[in-house]
């Protein structure tokens, strides 16, 4: 039976009715109508569903939605502000770090969580940080370039 669940999503507290077996991803997509996080494999292998939970990248397809009630959830929809795209989003656009785009919300969330904790990474650090995100179109070179560029922009406070 559906049970009430209050989640903080992108800074906003939302009350929803959610089945006990719903993953956080199902809850975000089907109840909160936030379809940025993608359902790629639904078994924690592809990283397309990555969101931030209390600032940390997590595979939302593996999380019992009800267990997340005290957590702060950030999805790709929560990154842009009135001033425009986030530095990571901007860098992905500028560096062409995408092709079909399906994996990109997950990659951007992984990169965002990573850069918040590691503002001055090496390229190797970035590759380890996005190891859990699978891209089947374009490869990772431009993605890594974009994350390195975003790190620099964020350090310079732009």
């Amino acid at each position: 039976m559906k049970q009430p669940l209050t989640l903080t999503i992108n800074g906003e507290s939302r009350l929803m009715l959610v089945e006990p077996y719903y993953s956080l991803l199902d809850c975000l997509r089907d109840e909160a109508q936030l379809t940025g996080a993608k359902k790629g494999c639904d078994e924690g292998d592809c990283g397309a569903c990555t969101v931030l939970m209390d600032g940390k990248p997590v595979t939302s397809c593996l999380i019992l939605a009800h267990s997340a009630h005290d957590c702060d959830i950030t999805t790709i929809e929560g990154l842009a502000t009135v001033d425009g795209l986030s530095p990571v989003q901007k860098a992905f656009v500028e560096h062409g770090g995408l092709q079909c785009g399906f994996c990109i919300p997950g990659l951007i969330m992984s990169a965002t969580g990573f850069l918040q904790a590691n503002p001055d990474p090496t390229e190797e650090d970035v590759r380890f940080a996005i190891g859990g995100n699978l891209c089947r179109c374009t490869g990772y070179a431009r993605v890594v370039e974009a994350v390195m560029a975003a790190a620099q922009e964020m350090r310079e406070g732009r």
Binding site: Q3, E19, P20, Y21, S23, D42, E43, G44, D45, C46, G47, T50, M53, K56, P57, V58, T59, C61, L62, I63, L64, H66, S67, D70, S110, G113, F114, E124, F128, A129, G131, G132, N133, L134
Partner: protein, 306 residues
């Protein structure tokens, strides 16, 4: 689709009461990274899920020289990977943690959950065996400590009885001049299940010979396993290439691999030998030469097929 109710205890006692009330209809979850995947396939069909995530006090990593390392049941694999104490003193475990899935799964999955899931291929398990982990298991009638070597009884099966909860691990303080490493072999560098994983933890005595050796193999038998024959071959012997090669051969001989989608059986046995040799060499070298930087540990921890 088999539905279930979601229960959320706020203490271990409350969780024990829930398990007692619902018996085999209940499934305990920690990070839940295995649960939903297995529920969706119909492999697990509990009527009640008891989620431990909101039980306070289980997320601590503590270390002191007398008691060694204590890992609470809700400590995540990423907590372990990021721990300076683990990186410096339990390098095989640091390697096992960094070889585990990817960041976004490590942020959820717990080390104790990895044990209780009892996959033969669990990436933290060979390292925990090689670091001689002891498990605290509580029930409504009290608590008991069980060596990790006695926890695994079959694929997905542990020695935990119904109504018991594993709440803590203890890893003894390594002897002076100790070294260790875990190496995972898999097709993909992240988010993949090991085809083979091997951990070795050794100590070198004042005479320059091995004073203790623990070798543990993953994904080459129905459970993660120690290789006592190979360990015994090395204790008291100097870490020569020949001794290490001979021990690696014995370890591979003790393996009982199956053939599946990830590897043929003979390939697994061959890789087990290679990884045993590599982990032993690294463990012996770092036991006397000083700890390995984490950047090097993470480079060594996953060795892919191509």
């Amino acid at each position: 689709m088999a539905r279930f109710d979601y229960l959320e205890p706020h203490s271990v006692d409350e969780a024990l009461g829930m398990l007692e009330k619902h018996g085999t209809a209940a499934r305990l979850v920690a990070g839940s990274t295995d649960f939903l995947v297995r529920w969706r396939t119909g492999f697990w069909r509990p009527e009640v899920v008891v989620c431990m995530q909101h039980v306070p006090g289980l997320d601590r990593i503590d270390f002191n020289d007398d008691d060694g390392l204590s890992i609470g049941a809700m400590v995540t694999v990423q907590d372990i990977e990021q721990s300076d104490t683990v990186r410096a003193r339990y390098p095989a475990l640091a390697a096992g943690a960094t070889a585990f899935a990817g960041v976004q799964v490590r942020n959820l999955a717990t080390v104790v959950g990895n044990i209780c899931n009892a996959s033969p291929a669990g990436d933290t398990l060979p390292a925990l065996l090689a670091h001689d982990a002891q498990c605290r298991i509580v029930s409504s009638s009290g608590e008991r400590w069980l060596p990790l070597t006695e926890v695994f009884v079959g694929p997905g099966q542990t020695a935990l009885a119904a109504g018991e909860i594993m709440t803590e691990l203890r890893l003894p303080t390594p002897a002076p001049n100790s070294g260790g490493l875990y190496i995972k072999h898999s097709p993909r560098g992240a988010m993949d299940i090991s085809a083979v994983g091997v951990a070795s933890v050794v100590s070198i005595g004042p005479d320059g010979a091995f004073s203790s050796v623990r070798i543990a193999l993953g994904a080459v038998a129905p459970t993660p396993m120690r290789a006592p024959g190979a360990e015994g071959r090395l204790v008291g012997q100097p870490p020569t290439d020949q001794n290490i090669a001979e021990a690696a051969r014995l370890a591979a001989q003790a393996a009982r691999p199956i053939a599946d989608v990830r590897s043929g059986a003979e390939y697994r046995r061959e890789i087990a030998q290679v990884l045993t040799e590599r982990t032993l060499r690294h463990a012996a070298a770092t036991a006397v030469g000083g700890a390995t930087d984490f950047e090097d540990i993470r480079r060594l921890a996953v060795q892919t097929a191509w």
